[in-house]
């Protein structure tokens, strides 16, 4: 399972669509960080989480702190979807502590860049085709 936690449903749909070109695994969307955590804890540990930096009711780090307070979830790779102009004082060490593998700037990312990080950081990335049958890269 892949999880997209983004406060805008349209943004989440475009990410899902980009990933859909190279995988058939379920891709869940949620705009509420707390129900997203509930879903993750209840159903399955995701192989990758796309996480928007600003969320309704919390930010990405509050979400991750909550998720990591549960045992066994620290190894999930996180791709941060950043809508701020800068990361405001977040250090590389912070990113490592939160297992953030990549940062995509929302106003510059493309379907290709989404698929690139998906391939690179997905937990089972050896099984992901480099090119889909439809020729997406």
């Amino acid at each position: 399972m892949i999880f997209v936690v983004a406060n805008d449903f349209i943004l989440a749909k475009t990410i899902r669509k980009a990933c859909r070109k190279i995988t058939d695994e379920p891709i869940c969307i949620d705009n509420d960080p707390f129900t997203a955590i509930e879903t993750i804890l209840t159903f399955a540990r995701p192989n990758l989480i796309f996480l928007q930096s600003l969320l309704i009711g919390a930010n990405a780090f509050a979400f991750l702190n909550e998720l990591y307070s549960h045992e066994g979830f620290l190894s999930i790779p996180i791709v941060l979807l950043n809508d701020l102009k800068s990361l405001g004082g977040i250090t590389p060490s912070d990113l490592e502590d939160y297992n953030i593998k990549a940062i995509l700037q929302i106003d510059r990312m493309t379907p290709r860049s989404i698929r690139k990080v998906f391939r690179r950081y997905h937990l089972n990335n050896k099984k992901i085709p480099q090119r889909s049958a439809k020729g997406a890269s």
Partner: protein
């Protein structure tokens, strides 16, 4: 000069989100491989987002043109609320939520400006549509309160942040950056609502509940009899 720059920054900040979304939608459209219905859905999303952005531009323009004089007339609040409910229905549906009405007054008339009132209720509705809990019900109501006609939008979800409530309690928001209910927003919508309400001699406010919030605007009742009574 500083106020002018801040105003420009606020407007730029608020327009960034819909423009980024439009870009993502356009990039996601694969005309060689996508089925027709998917392209049609993306087209509808593009229209929806661009109309949101245009609305923001219109509101900013109106705000700049808001002078000392504002045309006020007796307005049927039932009609105003029904119009806003119809306009917001797709947005609520889009966010998996529902807006229902609860009118406890018969045919009340209020002294207001039709256009400005519509915008005030629209911005309340937008905040509620995005901020309330998933699959929740929101209620648009008409009632009297302390001699005024209160149009209120109640949502069920996270309680209103304390600083936002305090800013709204005073009924007057000095600048948009004082409050922001949701990510990607500078609070411009509620600031505009505050200014428009003031132009109508009305007052906006908010009530914090444990299970959500109520945004309201108190209007001066019109003593003129309605032609439709």
């Amino acid at each position: 000069m500083e106020a002018e720059v801040n105003g420009i920054l606020v407007a730029a900040h608020d327009l960034r989100t819909p423009i980024s979304l439009m870009r993502q939608l356009a990039l996601s459209m694969d005309f060689e491989n996508d089925p027709k219905n998917e392209l049609e859905n993306a087209r509808k999303d593009l229209i929806h987002v661009s109309e949101r952005a245009l609305r923001q531009v219109d509101d900013l323009t109106k705000l700049a043109e808001l002078g000392d004089f504002c045309l006020l007339e007796p307005i049927s609040v039932h009609v105003a609320c029904d119009e806003i409910k119809n306009e917001l229905a797709p947005i609520f549906s889009f966010n998996h939520k529902e807006l229902v009405t609860d009118y406890s007054l018969r045919s009340p008339l209020a002294v207001a400006n039709r256009d400005l009132l519509h915008t005030v209720l629209y911005h309340f509705g937008l905040s509620v549509a995005h901020y309330s809990g998933e699959n929740s019900l929101s209620i648009l109501s008409i009632a009297t309160h302390a001699g005024k006609i209160r149009l209120a939008m109640r949502d069920f979800g996270p309680s209103l942040p304390l600083d936002v409530w305090q800013a709204l309690r005073s009924g007057w928001i000095r600048q948009p950056m004082e409050l922001s209910l949701r990510p990607g927003s500078s609070g411009l919508g509620l600031y505009i609502a505050s200014r428009y309400a003031s132009a109508m001699h009305a007052q906006i406010g908010a009530i914090r509940h444990r299970d959500g919030s109520t945004f309201y605007v108190d209007l001066v009742p019109s003593r003129q009899r309605s032609l439709f009574e």
